[in-house]
């Protein structure tokens, strides 16, 4: 099973920097928003937590699209489905690889973008904490969406349509944690709920994803 994780990480690295690109997109987004919205510091500070979370979500989303598609097109998924590891395991490993190449680097770089967007000083810690708790859920949910849209050409946009509403609770609690943190209010409730969503999604969704893949391979 770790063989699969290692392979996926290696593929991500080889394909021209799987790590770097998720980050780059996040960075660019953080640059584009001030360009679109205007440079006033107060406005930016107000919207920084929301934009940083929406950006993390979109960065995750953008790389989901090909999570299974490549393996499906070149026939690897057929072979994985007949290999002696359960599909649930395959799905979990894929989600983990996705998180390591996307969610984790996003979390680490978010404070830098917080500076760009004028995030209040009190918010930085909560930004990192909430992303650390929340991005695994994004990867797991995204894996489910990718499994559903497997084998559909141009599944990318359909995938977004399916996945984004599923991301709503994570987004809301994540952004709320940062907003409240930045305002010096209590953040225990949103963070707890965020952790709950992540734990629940990681525990249950792999079964749904594996079922979707089995159906799609049929």
């Amino acid at each position: 099973m770790t063989a699969l994780l290692i392979r996926d990480l290696r593929l991500a690295m080889r394909a021209g920097g799987g790590f770097g690109l998720g980050l780059a997109f996040y960075l660019i987004l953080a640059v584009l928003v001030p360009l679109g919205v205007g440079p006033e510091g107060d406005t930016l500070a107000l919207i920084a937590p929301g934009i940083l979370w929406v950006g993390a979500l979109l960065s995750c989303l953008l790389s989901l699209d090909r999570l299974f598609a490549l393996d499906y097109e070149d026939g690897s998924l057929d072979l994985l489905a007949t290999a002696p590891i359960p599909l649930e395991g395959v799905v979990t490993m894929k989600a983990l690889a996705h998180w390591i190449t996307t969610g984790l680097p996003l979390t680490l770089v978010a404070p830098v973008l917080g500076v760009l967007l004028n995030l209040p000083a009190a918010g930085f810690g909560w930004l990192v904490a909430s992303l650390l708790l929340g991005t695994p859920a994004l990867s797991v949910i995204g894996t489910f969406g990718a499994a559903l849209t497997l084998g559909l050409r141009r599944g990318g946009l359909l995938l977004s349509l399916l996945v984004l509403p599923l991301y709503v609770p994570t987004l809301v609690f994540g952004a709320q944690a940062v907003v409240r943190g930045a305002a010096g209010l209590g953040t225990a409730t949103p963070l707890l709920l965020l952790a709950g969503i992540t734990a629940g999604a990681a525990a249950l969704l792999p079964f749904a994803s594996a079922a979707a893949i089995r159906i799609n391979l049929r």
Binding site: T149, L162, P169, A211, I215, N216
Partner: protein
């Protein structure tokens, strides 16, 4: 005792729904007409909201049915996943466009109402927001049905989506509540302005409109399912022809 699953046979379903459909349709038309006409022309104007309050006779039933359609899809999806009755999968498929239309009606009538009430077409109130999210769930569900060619695969995948989506829709509801405690009316039928119970003069026509919308939903659902079954029948005939 004849099992209820009998009706899961497409032929049986076509027979039964064949004579059920006209009756339900007529009843739905009657109820809605009664409720709306009564509500629009024979109730007084609310002292605070003026005549705009009358949109409630469309808004509330549509909003209710929007949620009920999703619940019905959830049940039908479960039946399909567990017992693999094709009619239930097709019924879920047929319910989605009806549900999304109801959601849209609730959103639009709400917006039309909001303009005089709140001075804006749209506000990010929790109830409205969660309806918007429900709308997105409907769109995704319908798009997935349309994107997949093979009907059984589509039924399977959309059912899985419906199950997972329901959980997340519920979560979203709580999340949105947490995010904003808004301007919208309280959740019970009984309030128009704070605390005061809704006047019986409003409530009766509202009940009629609600029953009418429920019947309308059933009628549309039956009609839609019949169409889907006919489409599948066409497909089966083509298959048989191709097999020679």
């Amino acid at each position: 005792m004849a099992s209820i699953w009998r009706y899961a046979n497409p032929r049986k379903f076509m027979e039964t729904s064949g004579w059920l459909l006209p009756g339900v349709s007529i009843l739905a038309a009657l109820c809605i007409a009664t409720g709306v006409i009564w509500g629009f022309f024979f109730t007084g104007e609310d002292y605070r909201q003026g005549s705009t309050v009358k949109i409630v006779f469309l808004h509330v039933p549509a909003a209710l049915m929007a949620i009920n359609a999703w619940l019905m899809m959830l049940v039908a999806s479960l039946i399909w996943l567990i017992r693999r009755h094709h009619v239930s999968a097709l019924a879920a498929k047929a319910a989605a466009p009806v549900g999304v239309t109801m959601t849209l009606i609730a959103l639009i009538t709400g917006a039309v109402w909001g303009q005089p009430m709140w001075g804006t077409w749209w506000a990010w109130d929790p109830r409205l927001t969660s309806f918007l999210i429900l709308f997105l769930f409907y769109l995704g569900y319908i798009a997935l049905w349309q994107a997949i060619e093979d009907p059984d695969t589509a039924a399977d995948l959309t059912s899985v989506l419906c199950l997972v989506g329901s959980v997340f829709a519920l979560l979203s509801r709580y999340a949105v509540n947490f995010w904003n405690q808004g301007l919208h009316q309280g959740a019970s039928l009984s309030v128009v302005d704070e605390g005061a119970p809704m006047d019986i003069a409003y409530r009766l026509p509202l009940y009629f409109a609600m029953a009418g919308f429920a019947l309308l939903f059933i009628a549309l659902l039956l009609a839609g399912t019949r169409t889907e079954i006919r489409a599948r029948r066409m497909q089966a005939l083509l298959t048989r022809e191709r097999m020679g």
